[in-house]
Subunit: 154 residues, 2 copies
């Protein structure tokens, strides 16, 4: 195991003792150096978004002072859930090393695999009740945004 | 437009001036009361995960002191991206009111629709390069977790 996965796994194993969240760890590497690392903090932080990968991405953004993590690599002890995988895409990370699979996560009670199935079954799934409202008002905010010549895209 | 969507849209429109992030706003309602609200902060916070819905979910968790937002409803000025939709599922929010569509977001330069397509094309897409490593080590952390009788699942 290389030093990057070892860092991620050490963090995951710490959670088995501290119980601040599920048994997951992640780190982000740029130019061979770990620039951010975290375990899962869902329980301690009362934050359903506080997966290890999300927290590592947020830290990497602070360290590099940009939302664009192009050129970074992510090491995670478990294949990222759809939330984290989407965050990886938004952050422009292109390479992910993982240990456990989403099926492994499912076996110990996490819904990663279930949420992947949900995305495959869209738009028919009834899991979330969606209601479109006020489109005639909300679309104006997009029309204004479109006119801005100096906007930063991401 | 009801007061909840108005709150979300006011926040989205503020971003057109402040440019702290894209033109998106969200709020979370419990028992008829807004308990959390945010606009997108990706640019200001250097945080690719700082979508309006994610920030509102994080705030609601802090307010309610739990990662479980069952019974809450989300209002968002735009249909949530896959990251935010996954966060909604993790948080146990079941009802979402939205204004703009993901196709509207695509038209003004955001990748929401692209990421939805990516999930539909899995596992074949080459967008992210995945490498499984060290499974024989990482699986031990899951085996230990499974033995814990007092774990909190989420």
């Amino acid at each position: 195991m290389n030093e990057y996965m070892k860092k991620a796994l050490d963090l995951a194993c710490q959670n088995l003792e501290t119980k601040v969240g599920g048994p997951f760890g992640a780190c982000i590497v740029k130019d061979g150096k770990i620039i951010a690392a975290s375990s899962n903090h869902v329980i301690l932080d009362h934050d359903p978004t506080a997966h290890a990968e999300i927290l590592a991405i947020r830290e990497a953004g602070r360290v590099l002072q940009t939302h664009d993590l192009s050129g970074c690599e992510l090491y995670t002890t478990c294949y990222p859930c759809p939330m984290c995988l989407s965050a990886i895409i938004w952050s422009n990370i292109r390479t992910v090393y993982y240990g456990n699979t989403k099926e492994d996560a499912s076996k110990i009670g996490f819904r990663d695999d279930f949420i992947y199935s949900y995305f495959q079954s869209l738009p028919c799934s009834e899991l979330i009740h969606f209601h479109q409202v006020s489109h005639e008002d909300t679309i104006k905010s997009f029309q204004e945004y479109e006119k801005d010549q100096e906007k930063i895209t991401y």
